[in-house]
């Protein structure tokens, strides 16, 4: 009843092709943005910022990067953690060696470095596909792990191989408190999510999807696989690189290569699969699910005052979380984004389904 588009006439191509063609969606997005920019910062506790919101946004950004590659272009990648590491260490080196650089420039350069590395490791995708490509990108992951723990130059010769982000400031303002860090991340994620959404609706995104659906057919209609695949790797790694730099600088503050190990890559791949392959919204759902559900499960027994041991809580967390993943994949193999879309379809007809 509330969610019905009857009466909203599209009078131009522009209206028809808008990102959110339905008015209720536009209002909904505006409310979410208002909440994210105004309501949450006013009410959130430091714990909510540092342990939930900041990692959620950064995970979502990295998941968008992986989704562009895997969901839209069909190239399975297990190297996202490695590309995030490139971004993190590139940002560290730019910030340490050129302290006068603006923080945003540092992040952009870090993304650029990650994009370059992504292109190099994307070259095998021209010959190999599917699972075999996943294994090839695994090489990127292990190579990055090796490089950042062995080549001392990247860590500025720190004895333990663990590096610290320098003090951060942007246009003369120190970025210190959780709320300030949240704002910076939120702004970056908003801009980049919007860019990604537009990218996949445009020519480039369509060429990726053509490659994903059938590469030979795509080649016949004039899409060059080399350009399409490598551009997907570049853009995906750019996103991952910036996410890595944010993760290191604004979330951890101090990190070692272990922060970007193979588990990070798997986590991101799970986010994309559970959230929904080929959906930008799904990245946010997936990130929220994988990040928040285990933390919530871990805290419920203590919050309710149920006396069970720490180890048992942890075991229960793993079991319930695993069961939930299986449940969601059985109920909707296309991910949470698809569930959301089905929900919207139902809402359109409610309360008078045919």
């Amino acid at each position: 009843m509330l969610y019905r588009e009857a009466g909203q006439f599209k009078t131009s191509y522009g209206d028809d092709q808008a990102i959110f063609p339905i008015r209720q969606d536009r209002i909904g997005v505006a409310i979410i943005l208002l909440a994210a920019y105004l309501a949450i910062p006013l009410t959130a506790s430091p714990y909510l910022f540092t342990s939930i919101l900041i990692p959620f946004l950064i995970y979502a950004l990295a998941a968008i990067g992986l989704n562009l590659l895997t969901g839209y272009c069909g190239q399975v990648s297990l190297g996202t953690g490695g590309f995030m590491a490139v971004g993190a260490y590139a940002a560290y080196n730019f910030a340490i060696r050129m302290p006068e650089l603006n923080l945003l420039v540092v992040f952009l350069l870090a993304g650029g470095c990650a994009a370059l590395v992504g292109v190099v490791f994307g070259i095998p995708s021209l010959r190999i596909k599917g699972f075999y490509l996943a294994v090839a990108t695994l090489a990127a992951q292990f190579f990055m792990d090796w490089m950042f723990s062995r080549i001392k130059w990247f860590t500025n010769y720190t004895p333990s191989g663990s590096v610290n982000a320098p003090p951060l400031s942007l246009f003369g303002f120190a970025i210190d408190t959780p709320a300030e860090r949240y704002y910076l991340i939120l702004a970056i994620v908003t801009v980049m999510a919007l860019a990604a959404k537009n990218l996949v609706r445009g020519r480039v995104g369509r060429s990726w999807m053509a490659i994903r659906d059938m590469d030979i057919a795509a080649e016949i209609i004039g899409i060059r696989p080399l350009r399409a695949k490598l551009s997907a790797f570049a853009v995906s790694s750019f996103y991952a690189g910036i996410a890595g730099a944010l993760w290191a600088f604004l979330h951890l503050g101090s990190w070692e290569p272990l922060a970007f190990d193979i588990n990070r890559s798997f986590t991101l791949l799970f986010m994309v699969i559970i959230g929904g392959l080929g959906s930008i919204l799904g990245c946010f759902f997936g990130a929220a699910f994988i990040l928040i559900v285990p933390l919530a499960l871990n805290q419920i027994p203590t919050a309710l005052g149920i006396p069970i041991s720490t180890a048992m809580i942890s075991h229960l967390e793993f079991m319930i979380f695993g069961a939930l993943i299986v449940f969601f994949l059985i109920v909707e193999p296309h991910g949470l984004a698809r569930l959301w879309a089905l929900g919207k379809e139902k809402l359109r007809l409610w309360p008078f389904p045919h």
């Binding site: 342990s51 004895p159 070692e256 871990n298 203590t302």
Partner: protein, 444 residues
């Protein structure tokens, strides 16, 4: 009608009880010292994490039972499972740091990775970190690392103590020339910490040093031990944790490397490290921060006040194990810091800042150790604004197939060697982070 009345009465009773309970909780909460406990009872490091967590918990519970806490302030602890993962550890810290009437008094991260991450956060939150026998080696310098307390020893101290023992065995540092020493280490900040010190020692004394990394969690070490078989170093130092230790000892037995030439750091010298290797572990040595066994005064109190009342955190027969005792010592040092802080700020729950003052002025004398039932367990230590380590002594212990026994007396790390390296590393950190070091001569 009757049922209604009954229901009303029952509801009223429940409500009154709830209010009473809430009121009582409130009154109690005012006089409670909250201590967050970052533990790992699951995952690949659980065999080592569990006894440590149990020892710590039992000590605090014993204090509550015996003395009603510290000077009447009850100690309240809440555990949070980190699984040895840095991101979960940071989440635990953020979750627990604000609890209790004064927030977290002191935090033991119990992982070098988590320590590195919390080192960035602790100054802002004003919560001191006790990293007893682990953490950042340069955090010994209190003028730069104002909130880190690597009490009793850092990894640099550990490496130096072990090499001192090697030199003793060989008949002086002069005899080390031309010898080969390999370090088999957990490929994380924890394992990498001792490398700069060992490189420095190798340069000074002319022995060949090589570092062989083992990837987390350390169950795959075939390639490493193949290298050792080819290279035949005179000594192998082991810097492992969890399942990596027992695997290393088993692999050493498999390539027939003499176990009595292997010396582990104090995190590689507990029962779960040697028992899986069976007879193959015989002769293996490790540094020991403190004594082993349950024959000390503190254990009698713990048996009587905690285990006899079925309130023990773990199994009775595990009391007195190496890592259990380490948890005890850690709990002891944390509670002594709170006690010291109370001596200045009054007998009430302390804030993190006050506990930090207590830590910086901590002076645990032999008399105090005896009084607390720790005689023979630990070495006395004295902390100052500049020196956050206190004492850097350990003994070397050897496994004879059924128990650990000491093969050396207390060996002290060479502070003349370590301190300049600490100052240099801390200075570099201060420059990177744009920290102005405190002037310790002006601190009261």
């Amino acid at each position: 009608m009757r049922t209604k009345l009954l229901r009303a009465a029952a509801l009223g009773a429940i409500g009154a009880a709830a209010m009473l309970a809430a009121g009582a909780g409130e009154a109690l909460a005012q006089n409670e010292q909250f201590l967050p406990r970052l533990v790992y009872r699951t995952g690949p490091y659980a065999p080592n994490g569990v006894p440590f967590a149990n020892g710590y918990a039992d000590y605090l519970n014993m204090l509550n039972e015996r003395d009603g806490g510290i000077n009447g302030v009850r100690l309240v602890q809440e555990e949070c499972e980190t699984g040895y993962a840095t991101d979960r550890g940071v989440e635990c810290y953020d979750r627990l740091k604000g609890k209790g009437p004064t927030g977290a008094g002191v935090v033991d991260p119990l992982s070098t990775g988590i320590t590195f991450a919390l080192t960035e956060k602790a100054p802002g939150d004003k919560i001191p970190l006790i990293t007893m026998g682990y953490g950042r080696s340069e955090s010994q310098d209190g003028s730069v690392f104002g909130w880190n307390f690597p009490l009793l020893g850092t990894y640099w101290a550990a490496a130096d103590i072990i090499m001192n023992y090697v030199a003793q065995k060989e008949g002086g540092y002069g005899k080390l020339k031309g010898k080969k020493v390999s370090l088999v280490y957990h490929d994380s900040p924890y394992g990498k910490e001792p490398i700069p010190l060992l490189e420095e020692l190798a340069k000074r004394h002319g022995f060949a040093f090589s570092a062989l990394p083992v990837t987390h969690p350390g169950v795959e070490q075939k390639a490493t031990w193949l290298q050792i078989r080819q290279n035949r170093p005179d000594y192998v130092l082991l810097w492992g944790w969890g399942v990596m230790n027992s695997t290393a000892i088993k692999e050493a037995a498999a390539v027939n490397y003499p176990r009595n030439k292997m010396i582990g750091v104090w995190w590689s010298g507990a029962e779960p490290d040697v028992t899986p290797g069976g007879d193959g572990s015989k002769g293996y040595m490790a540094a020991a921060l403190h004594a082993i066994g349950d024959q000390f005064g503190v254990h009698r109190d713990i048996y009587k006040l905690v285990y006899d009342k079925n309130r023990g955190a773990g199994k009775r027969e595990e009391v007195g194990q190496v890592l259990y005792n380490r948890g005890l010592v850690n709990g002891f040092l944390a509670s002594e810091a709170i006690r010291k802080a109370q001596s200045r700020f009054g007998n009430k729950p302390m804030t993190g800042e006050q506990v930090r003052w207590g830590l910086e002025n901590l002076d645990i004398t032999a008399a105090r150790i005896k009084e607390s039932g720790f005689e023979g367990l630990v070495y006395p230590l004295k902390i100052s604004c500049q020196d956050h380590m206190g004492s850097a002594r350990a003994r070397i212990q050897q496994w004879d197939g059924s128990k650990w026994s000491f093969v050396s007396d207390w060996i002290e790390a060479d502070r003349k060697l370590i301190d300049p390296m600490v100052v240099a590393a801390a200075k570099k950190y201060a420059e990177e982070k744009k920290i102005t070091p405190r002037d310790c001569s002006k601190e009261s």
